[in-house]
Symmetry: C2
């Protein structure tokens, strides 16, 4: 049963609406806010007064007159606080400090040689400490820390399993909150990537979007009805383990014919190895293969075509299942866009239901391996703006 309504809640909700209007349309006048929201201009005036007092917005110079008195323009104060966002990957850690609009103010990337928990934690905290030190002085300071992880995260933010890190049942959230005394959000990297694409990836709002994170495995973030869909336990999006070939290649998950056995970076590398394009000591095999393809190596091109076709099969399923407005491919395999795209698009065009393709946009991520940190930043920022604790 949802909450009942009273004057106090109304005021809080209306104030949030005014703030969101200022964020989305900054700079904007009180009069325009009243027009935009339908609230009475004296209501807007008093709510804006409070937001000014909270230092979450500011008045800028006068705007242009539309025939009468010049308006006073209001701005969102993106430097009122800062957010720390981390993408914890198998081989490295990417950390960014962003303002309250997601602008990256500082960043650090460190390699990790081992997935040993204690070692990784040490490096992780070093990155976070560096970012905390880099944060400018601001009214609210660091409003939260978000950490994207390649694994299964429960609704409570506990890492249940991160197979590529070799981690099981780790309460990273509690550990970090106890250390830093800040709100901490832990999320699956594909879910975070989907959210990052949704908030920062496009010019227009997208209500239904599928983000395919194609790296070592395949994880999918689902933005459905304008929300990140997580399922009953927070475990949704395991499309990497969707069967595309019954009785096919066995997978470590126990199933057979899983999409990620055919269409991931790992699948590509395995086939390249068997085609003797690379050997076990090849460093950064994906780039080696991209370079070979760029140089006209037909075997490498054929391998990318095959992978592109398999990516297309799984995305065709996504299109038929979700009827999305947008599909975004991200993570490592997006680097091979040039060689994957033709076969992938051909598979989709030929096989996805015609109706579903009418307004669909399939693209590779424009956020260049930053999707996940953008998503984690958005999570902590939005949590802060929704709750807006009292100014210290």
């Amino acid at each position: 049963m949802h909450q009942t309504w009273n004057q106090h809640i109304i005021k809080k909700e209306n104030k949030t609406i005014v703030l969101e209007t200022i964020i989305n349309r900054t700079p904007i006048s009180r009069a325009a806010i009243a027009q935009q929201t339908g609230l009475n201009k004296s209501t807007v005036s008093s709510l804006v007064q409070e937001l000014l007092g909270e230092k979450i917005i500011e008045e800028s110079g006068p705007g242009e007159s539309s025939g009468g008195r010049r308006p006073v323009m209001l701005l969102f104060n993106q430097s009122a606080g800062f957010s720390i966002a981390i993408d914890l990957r198998v081989h490295d850690i990417l950390g960014v400090l962003t303002d309250l609009e997601g602008n990256i103010v500082h960043e650090q990337r460190v390699l990790i040689e081992t997935t040993n928990f204690n070692q990784v934690m040490k490096r992780l905290m070093e990155v976070i400490d560096t970012l905390i030190k880099a944060a400018p002085t601001s009214p609210y300071g660091i409003v939260g820390i978000g950490i994207g992880v390649p694994g299964v995260i429960s609704n409570e933010g506990e890492i249940l399993l991160a197979p590529n890190l070799g981690w099981k049942r780790i309460d990273l959230k509690a550990h970090m909150e106890q250390h830093y005394h800040l709100p901490v959000v832990i999320e699956n990297e594909a879910n975070a990537g989907a959210y990052g694409e949704k908030v920062f990836g496009f010019e227009e709002a997208v209500d239904h979007m599928i983000y395919a994170s194609i790296g070592a495995g395949i994880g999918v973030g689902l933005i459905l009805d304008n929300k990140l869909y997580k399922g009953m336990q927070g475990f949704s999006g395991e499309l990497g383990h969707m069967t595309i070939e019954k009785d096919g290649i066995p997978c470590r998950c126990g199933n057979k014919g899983c999409w990620e056995r055919y269409a991931s970076e790992q699948a590509l590398i395995k086939q390249a190895y068997e085609a003797k394009l690379i050997d076990q000591n090849t460093n950064d095999p994906l780039h080696v293969l991209i370079d070979l393809a760029n140089s006209g190596d037909e075997t490498a091109i054929a391998l990318f075509n095959t992978i592109g076709t398999y990516i297309g099969i799984g995305l065709t399923n996504c299109i038929n299942i979700f009827n999305p407005r947008m599909i975004v491919i991200g993570n490592q395999m997006a680097k091979a866009e040039k060689w994957i795209r033709p076969a992938m698009e051909h598979m989709i065009e030929e096989h996805a239901i015609g109706f579903h393709q009418e307004q669909l946009n399939v693209q590779f991520s424009s956020l260049n391996m930053y999707s996940t940190v953008y998503g984690m930043s958005a999570f902590t920022m939005e949590q802060f703006l929704q709750e807006r604790p009292l100014l210290e």
Copy 2:
């Protein structure tokens, strides 16, 4: 941008909350409503007064005292209005008249010999007219007509394509609204079935549920985050056209290896024909095959095992993708539960991700081919209760 809040909307929303509380916990006292909702007891008293005036609730006899004055118990007036719900299928039309709680008050089922639009419309309107005549006198009368259709329905309720009926681009909603001057809802039969299962199918509330309608083809209704998920254009849920065998059996949708080519009633019948268990003139082949299996025919049992396995492959994908709380199998193939279940459950247990199975419940529909009409009834009832137009 969502609406702003004011006094008028507060009262309306709180009144709706009070009404929903009465519906869900009937009979209930004012004092208990206040306790349940957190609203002040005088607020509840005045809102209840209005609902009594609208004849949507009633006072019943006194309740039991808990130590002081006896309470006056309030009841939802399920006979305040009635809803008409139709399941328009390829071979027949099922129509029901329900009260505002979904209780079936009257029903009619007619066979249709042709899918010719004009003929079907004639029969459809006959059924609706019969149900309208059967409706008791009530304050609000017929509050709406809901029609479930096997096809692609746009967000505006237009039938874009119903391949099994041979229909294209039919604005059934406008046609029916013009004729009956009542609100009309048109929805895909699998979506309606999912909603019917959600509202009427279980003892406890279910936020994430997958309804697999396995008939001539396979349609899937998705209840995600407590809502029916429809996608950008209203076309989601085409899991019948999810590839489970790359380069597999060609499908009329243009893809290959679609789930419904392997796991539908049509797939079963095709295999039974090839196994010479039935011929082209066999009437009601599904029941013939069930009877053969019941009599110990091993070929028939083997066919059901095969179909059960294929159903399990697709449901395994659903489990991995959506992480649902419940999966319900409905429509024609649910009649073969006994022979499908063992192989289906085995496939799921062996192949779905272990985490996802922890709290999952997979079951066959208990609504016995009524899922779709129950869903359509729920749509029109809820639309009415949300809007509650003035009493005539």
